[in-house]
Amino acid sequence: MIAAAATTLAAPIARFRGEPVLELPQDLYIPPDALEVFLETFEGPLDLLLYLIRKHNLDVLDIPMARLTEQYLEYVELMRQKNLELAGDYLVMAAVLIEIKSRMLLPRPTTSAQEENDPRAELMRRLLAYEQMKLAAQRLDALPQVGRDFTLVQVWIEQAAEHALPNINTEDLRQAWLWLLVRANVNQHHRLTRDQLSVREHMTQILRRLRDVKFLEFTQLFSPQLGVPKLIVTFLAILELARETLIEVTQQGPYSPIYVKLTHGLTVV
């Protein structure tokens, strides 16, 4: 896959400084199932550009804009075709590249210093600034980190036990979930949305109500005055509870009242 691409590429490329001698290599073929993963490895347009520059051995001080732009646009087109969620940032960069390319086609005034007016200067600066931070991030990540790479010492003091209780906030819970995510056990089906959460909250409320009374009539579980969304969520909660066999929903016959009770034999705590 990438290997194949890289091989086709490697052979024909000549390394003349800033001078694209060869055709654009036909190296963009990536098997469809790998494409998404491949593109996801880029942290944004600058990252993709740096990849292209390296891959094609371009000179960052003298970027051949036509080639780079063409390459870049092909990737963007690929992403578009694959309906990958294409961040606006990639399109903005496309526009920047095209603009630089067209400015370079214009005859330059011979009077002023060309170096300073090089339309590529800003792009180069950004690429290098990003590369610098990218490397810094890697080195930072390589530093030993508490918990991940070393543990702190904390010896017990007997009377420490009666100290104040810890306080937490909602961000702590988010952080805790992040830790959970790290372990492969938490996967797709543990993803939760707000809506599911609200269903789960209502499930709990229903269980709590049924805990206090033996059973309730179906309609008693609903509070129409609280609005339609609430009704729907309550209904979904009942369905979910029934699915998880936490409650039983019974009806003697058509049009007779529907009763909801905790699953048979459930000892109420």
């Binding site: 290997a3 702190l152 805790a176 992040l178 790290v182 939760l192 499930m203 805990r211 705590v269």
Partner: protein, 218 residues
């Protein structure tokens, strides 16, 4: 005593590191897991006793309590330690926070559900601590063999966190992007290192591949 097949000093150093960093007393059974070599219970207990002797005359001592071995500050030094103003309010351990997060986001859940997600056994102490705090309670039983208790967070939990409803908890969507590819890890990490511990697997893979990967570039 037969001559041990392991480096006694190194065993001591490892025991010391484990005991000094542990939040709870460590039973001998746990301590045995520290070593690649199989060390017998008696041998280990002898080494622990030796280690305790090494620490005699210092301000911290190694003691054996009901649930295992632990270091603790000697009572004579408490008066000094009290002079240090407690720097920060105490914090719950990660195990407690993870358990609480699972109950809050997945309620109603059984202990088994929590263990499925966390991948480790949930200690009774954690559940008790959260119940004692009034943050979780049992709202019923799941009708499966064993009839496990179903836990949910309470009104007080919401009050203490200043929330009106669970829906005000931070949404969890996209959290996956913050950690090193969990989703990919499952597929790719697997290819690189087949252990279940993806986290472990990704870390070294990165470094090694840096060297290996370079030629791909052109």
């Amino acid at each position: 005593m037969d001559s041990p097949s392991f480096d006694l000093q190194e065993v001591k150093r490892i025991l010391e590191a484990a005991l000094l960093t542990a939040a709870e007393p460590l039973p001998v059974a746990d301590l045995k897991q520290l070593f690649d070599e199989e060390i017998g219970n008696d041998t280990l207990r002898n080494i622990l006793t030796e280690l305790a002797q090494d620490w005699e005359g210092r301000s911290v001592e190694l003691v054996s309590v009901a649930s295992g071995w632990r270091f603790r500050a000697r009572p004579e030094y408490h008066r000094f330690l009290e002079r240090l103003n407690p720097q920060k309010p105490p914090r719950y351990s990660r195990a407690v926070m993870e358990t609480l997060a699972i109950i809050a986001y997945k309620l109603p859940v059984t202990r088994g559900d929590i263990e499925d997600i966390r991948g480790v056994v949930v200690s009774t102490n954690i559940i008790k601590a959260l119940e004692a705090r009034g943050w979780i309670d049992v709202i019923g039983h799941r009708e499966v063999p064993g009839r496990p208790e179903l836990f949910a967070t309470t009104r007080q939990f919401l009050d203490d966190l200043n929330l009106r409803s669970l829906t005000e908890l931070p949404p969890l969507e996209d959290l996956g992007q913050l950690v090193e590819s969990v989703a990919h890890g499952a597929q790719i990490g697997g290819a690189l290192a087949p252990e279940e511990d993806t986290v472990e697997a990704t870390a070294p893979a990165r470094q090694t591949s840096a060297a290996g990967a370079s030629p791909t570039v052109n």
